[in-house]
């Protein structure tokens, strides 16, 4: 029997013949289903070319039995995936079939079955180690840090001050460690304000943190107040500090009752507080759930646009982009330092700071720079990937789940559409990131914080793979807009549903003509030709020297026909 294609380290766990895949687009088809510890692989020879369905197990959110009766097939199963599809299978009640779906469930949720995530079994090697892409010291150095106002603090090197923060933090030079500890006790989850990005000219900074623990009694913290004043003072260009609280103001008030809250402008002089009115993770989860209903499997053609509208997905994308534009604009035009927080400072805060940084700093718009941005703002600063995505966990109804990172990547895609030459990477790169967000093939997005993450030696980084295939992920139109700040238009009219991601399973979405292939070929051709020109120039030069040394001058009268006309 023909073997299924496997990645290094992948083993076949079960095979069953005569399973029927109920394709929502092209109808039912029978074939062989293989389950490995990494994927399910269905192949049918009934069609020409053979029909193949390849779904990695990491993407599975839940497996459900459904009632079914198609001929002999009296059992049915629906596999609900995190990437907007839910393939269904029908099969006859037989030992081998029952077993394979049991195996599937077991390996789809390894953590619930005392099995390792596949990333720990994956044995591929790449020439470059992607874990080395992000070096915080190098990145801060690139930003010109430390400088006289800001220092790299080792206070959290054992994750003692804040267990969800990275070991290395950039804080104001004049703040002593004891003060930092006091500030930490006044901030939710001890996530103190730290520098994310500094403007190379104005020295205005993006600072991120969690909400202050003001509580219903309007608690104050002198150290926190002084701390923010120091951040303000570090920027000579402005005598204001702007706080962007990502939350809806009503929610921030509710949080106050629950011991959280926000900075009172009367206790923090020179501080201006703005709410960005972005709803919470539960609203976003619900929005994407609705979007899935609109796009998969079938589309209500008559109500396509209003259907998309009713999910509010694009509205939230707009809110995020508009918020990030405000942050970026405050820094760039207002030359004012900005503090961004939400409740815990690991969801909306990460979305806003990273989007603003993409707008402000062209480095993050390169293939490498974007990896650094994700490693820094998302992974090292404790976006809770494990909790938000629920890798390997069968508990799909967990309220911690939320597609915040997907939403961020969607915002990036919207920006690439408005600035097609400003980004070194292409759409495939963004889709690849989202695919491996769930796949559990790489260690990159597996954990909640830097502390939890001891995966470097045991897993492969997604960037090892990406940086070994850069030509696939390069945008041919890239023009380095160095030092350009790009402000996307955050108006719904200029946003578009990312159909090539959300609706990609629908065969009617397949590009009619893969233009990216043409574009890629253009680049390949360019490189080839450049090489050829160099080679030939060398050859001509050496040929000249040979001929001149042997006294055979070239005969200009001799007209030779070109040897080749194409490369």
């Amino acid at each position: 029997m023909e073997e299924v294609p496997r990645v290094p380290g992948e083993t076949v766990k079960a095979v069953a013949k005569d399973v029927m895949y109920l394709c929502p687009f092209t109808g039912a088809v029978s074939g062989t289903l293989t389950v490995t510890d990494y994927k399910l692989y269905f192949k049918s020879l009934e069609r020409d070319p053979p029909f193949v369905l390849d779904v990695n197990l990491g993407v599975i959110s839940r497996v459900e039995t459904i009632s079914m009766q198609i001929g002999e097939n009296n059992r049915g199963i629906e596999i609900v995936c995190k990437d907007m599809r839910n393939p269904r299978f029908a099969y006859k009640e037989e030992q081998s079939k029952l077993e394979i779906f049991e195996t599937l469930t077991k390996h789809a949720f390894p953590l619930s079955n005392n099995l390792p995530l596949f990333a720990f079994l994956y044995k591929e090697t790449f020439p470059e180690d992607g874990w080395k892409v992000y070096d915080p010291v190098a990145e801060y150095k690139r930003q010109g840090l430390p400088n006289e106002s800001w220092t790299i603090s080792k206070i959290n090197s054992n994750f003692e001050v804040c267990d969800t923060y990275p070991a290395m933090l950039v804080v104001p030079t004049s703040i002593k460690d004891e003060e930092l500890r006091k500030v930490a006790s006044f901030r939710a989850k001890h996530r103190i304000p730290v520098l994310s990005w500094i403007h190379p000219e104005s020295q205005a900074t993006i600072v991120r943190c969690s909400q202050p623990l003001v509580g219903p009694s309007d608690r104050r913290c002198k150290e926190d107040e002084r701390y923010l004043q120091t951040i303000l003072d570090a920027n000579a260009q402005s005598h204001k500090l702007t706080i962007f609280d990502a939350r809806q103001s009503s929610v921030a008030d509710t949080n106050k009752a629950k011991d959280g809250g926000y900075e009172s402008e009367s206790f923090y002089p020179n501080v201006e507080l703005n709410f960005l009115e972005i709803p919470n993770i539960h609203v976003m989860r619900e929005s994407l759930r609705k979007l899935r209903e609109v796009v998969y499997p079938s589309i209500d053609e008559a109500h396509w646009l209003s259907g998309v509208d009713s999910t509010h997905w694009l509205e939230y994308i707009r809110l995020l982009l508009a918020g990030a534009v405000r942050v970026a604009d405050k820094l760039e035009c207002g030359k004012t330092s900005v503090v961004v927080h939400c409740s815990d400072g690991w969801d909306r805060t990460a979305q806003l700071t990273s989007l603003a940084m993409l707008m402000l700093d062209s480095y993050y718009r390169t293939l490498r720079g974007f990896q650094v941005l994700l490693e820094k703002e998302w992974i090292s600063f404790g976006h809770r990937f494990a909790a938000r995505l629920g890798h390997g966990d069968e508990n799909h109804a967990n309220s911690e789940r939320s597609p915040l990172f997907v939403q961020f990547v969607d915002c990036v895609w919207q920006m690439t559409r408005q600035f097609p030459s400003a980004f070194e990477f292409n759409e495939l790169f963004l889709i690849t990131i989202l695919d491996h967000l769930y796949s559990c093939l790489f260690g990159t997005f597996l954990y909640n914080s830097e502390q939890e993450r001891e995966v470097h030696s045991k897993t492969v980084s997604l960037w090892s793979y990406v940086n070994n295939h850069t030509e696939d992920f390069t945008n041919p139109f890239y023009v380095n807009y160095e030092n350009h700040v790009i402000y996307p238009v955050a108006s719904l009219r200029h946003l578009e549903l990312w159909v090539s991601y959300y609706v990609r399973w629908n065969p009617r979405m397949r590009p009619q003509m893969p233009v990216h292939q043409n574009l890629k070929e253009l680049l390949v051709l360019r490189t080839e030709l450049q090489k050829k020109v160099e080679e030939l120039q060398r050859d001509v030069a050496s040929s000249r020297s040979v001929s001149s040394s042997s006294d055979h001058g070239p005969s200009p009268s001799h007209t030779s026909t070109p040897l080749y006309t194409t490369v």
Binding site: L314, Q418, N506, M509
Partner: protein, 611 residues
């Protein structure tokens, strides 16, 4: 009063070649636009190096316009445009243009054809008046004019000049090209020439001159292609049985299998099911023995039924047993016009509560019309290419939805229609000669206040559909999006005569070929052509089947959001692509040259081997 009618010379040096720049500055150098007393007009622009004097055409009838221009010139006018810095300068009205010039070097001037103005609005704050000018190309500009009287005068002048009734007063009759017409667009796509190609492939068709005096069918050209076995007398009889005399004529011949697409007006069956033997004979002769054909009626069944009461109708099965009739539901022109107005309203809605944008877009139904037209075109193409059957397409008059379907079907089927020339030829054949009433349909656009008479964005919808296909097959078209946008603009307001008149008869009467310049004469100059060529083009000889799924159809931002966005970054990406392609070509020729050089060196000394 005429003293003030000084003609402004646009910044010298840029003016002559600026025909292609039809955006903000739109100075298709208008020789003889101005209204002056003498035959030559002084320039007031200090930057006008040559002090060029313009000669007025002898036929120029100044008084026609002079009476309409109440205030020819106002200083201190401020122009506001989205994404552009405001400009303060002098506003001038000429017979055909609204011009705003800051009279400074290197600043763009605004040249706006009066015929491009769809409607205006006036507002006053104290003595400062504001005129909002809404254009047929969908842009909106604002002019702040000091002085209430000046403002009112300017407004009423613009209103009068932008709604001239007489076609012969239109700008194309006054425009003199500043380029040499190398190839006259008026002679480029003659029916005789098009027929030669068909004659080469088959002898089943002939060119008939039955309509040479436009009496058989006023909206057809003088020459039409009809089955060889049908004589002119029969055609005359058939014409009496078809709406507007539009008897079935050949629209497209599919080389691959010899199947044809014909188009016509609706049959005049009326309520009592009138028949016409000659009509039946005509269309039956186009069928191969034992084969069936398809009649695609672009109207829904109930609409076609209702047409009977007004003397129209559709082909009954009993009379046309060899034909299968399929009804599709492309909306009538008045509904399309409403749809355009709603769409543009939604696109221009500046209110912050844009949360229902997509719903508003959907409610405009524009995308539904695009989908319906494309679907019908695909159906026609499918019948011909996949079913191997001949097709007859008609709606009511056969001058709107019918042409959308026949022309799009050809784009799907025939690779030559996807070339620059081929597409021009298609527009010429299937729209201009086929009698789409451009003059009526494009009299107003989305901002019209007056009640629509027969305005409808039929041609714009066709261009939108072409854009959708182009977007799905970005390498299969020799032309680019810009070309389609330019066609849209020129259909509504132009210095060229191509889209004037409603049919061939009117064009002949207006003597357009003698008195105006053809749009094609300008587009096909190599200097202009470069802007319209698609750098990714690779000839694709296949039939291209577009996806008509709603998620595959997008809003045509290049037209509908064009003035609401800055296209700087999109243009830069496009330029970068062109740059890479050009650079690759350069490298390729360098490689060739070096190889030649190397070969010479080698044959010269005979020591080295070929690499």
């Amino acid at each position: 009063m005429l003293d003030g009618h000084r003609f402004i010379c646009p910044v010298a040096g840029t003016c002559c070649e600026s025909d292609r720049n039809l955006y903000w500055t739109d100075p298709p150098f208008p020789s003889g636009v101005g209204l002056g007393l003498g035959n030559s007009l002084p320039c007031f622009s200090s930057s006008c190096r040559s002090g060029r004097h313009i000669r007025l055409p002898s036929s120029f009838d100044r008084m026609e316009f002079a009476e309409l221009i109440k205030t020819p010139r106002v200083d201190g006018v401020v122009l506001h445009r989205p994404f552009m810095p405001t400009v303060e300068g002098t506003l001038c009205l000429t017979g055909h243009h609204l011009i705003l010039s800051s009279r400074q070097d290197n600043t763009e001037e605004l040249w706006l054809l009066h015929s491009n103005i769809d409607s205006i609005e006036k507002r006053f704050v104290g003595s400062l008046g504001t005129i909002i000018v809404k254009c047929k190309d969908l842009r909106i500009i604002q002019l702040d004019i000091p002085g209430m009287e000046e403002c009112l005068n300017i407004a009423s002048s613009i209103e009068a000049l932008s709604t001239l009734d007489s076609v012969s007063l239109m700008y194309p009759f006054f425009y003199r090209p500043m380029f040499e017409v190398v190839e006259d667009g008026w002679n480029m796509f003659l029916p005789e020439e098009a027929f030669k190609e068909i004659e080469f492939l088959t002898d089943e068709w002939r060119l008939s001159g039955v309509n040479k005096d436009f009496t058989v069918c006023p909206s057809y050209p003088q020459l039409v292609t009809v089955p060889r076995s049908i004589d002119d007398d029969t055609l005359r009889k058939v014409a009496t049985f078809r709406h507007g005399g539009r008897f079935p004529v050949l629209s497209y011949y599919h080389k691959k299998n010899g199947m044809v697409m014909m188009r016509a007006g609706q049959p005049l069956t009326g309520t009592n099911g009138r028949r016409c033997k000659e009509d039946e004979k005509l269309i039956n002769t186009t069928l191969r023995a034992g084969k069936r054909g398809y009649i695609i009626d672009t109207r829904a069944v109930n609409v076609a039924q209702q047409a009977k009461a007004r003397g129209g109708g559709f082909e009954q099965e009993a009379s046309y047993p060899q034909w299968r009739r399929i009804h599709k539901a492309i909306e009538r022109s008045s509904i399309l016009q409403e749809s355009l107005i709603k769409l543009v309203e939604a696109c221009n809605d500046q209110s912050q509560s844009m949360d229902r944008w997509l719903s508003k877009l959907e409610a405009s139904n524009w995308q539904t019309h695009v989908k319906e037209i494309l679907t019908t075109a695909c159906l026609a193409a499918q019948c011909i290419d996949r079913e191997g059957a001949s097709v007859l397409v008609h709606g009511t008059e056969g001058t709107d939805s019918t042409l959308q379907v026949t022309s799009l079907a050809q784009i799907i089927l025939d690779p030559s229609c996807r070339t620059m020339r081929g597409f021009q030829s298609l527009v010429e054949r299937e729209w201009l000669q086929a009698g789409h009433p451009f003059q009526q349909r494009c009299a107003q656009s989305a901002y019209s206040n007056s009640k629509a008479r027969s305005e409808a964005p039929v041609f714009l919808l066709f261009l939108d559909c072409v854009w959708q296909v182009l977007r799905q097959f970005p390498c299969s078209f020799q032309f680019n999006e810009h070309f389609l946008v330019v066609l849209f603009e020129h259909a509504y307001a132009s210095q060229f005569g191509t889209f004037l008149g409603n049919n061939a008869a009117e064009r002949l009467k207006l003597k357009l070929p003698q008195k105006t310049v053809s749009l094609w004469s300008w587009i096909n100059r190599s200097q202009e052509m470069d802007h319209f060529l698609n750098p990714l083009y690779e000839p694709n000889n296949l039939v291209i089947w577009p996806s008509v799924a709603p998620q595959s159809l997008l809003l045509w931002e290049g037209v509908f959001l064009r003035w609401n966005r800055s296209s700087k970054y999109l243009d830069e990406a496009y330029d970068e692509m062109v740059h890479i392609i050009e650079y690759n070509k350069e490298l390729q020729s360098k490689v060739n040259a070096l190889r030649r050089q190397l070969a010479q060196l080698e044959t010269g000394d005979g020591l080295l081997e070929t690499p």
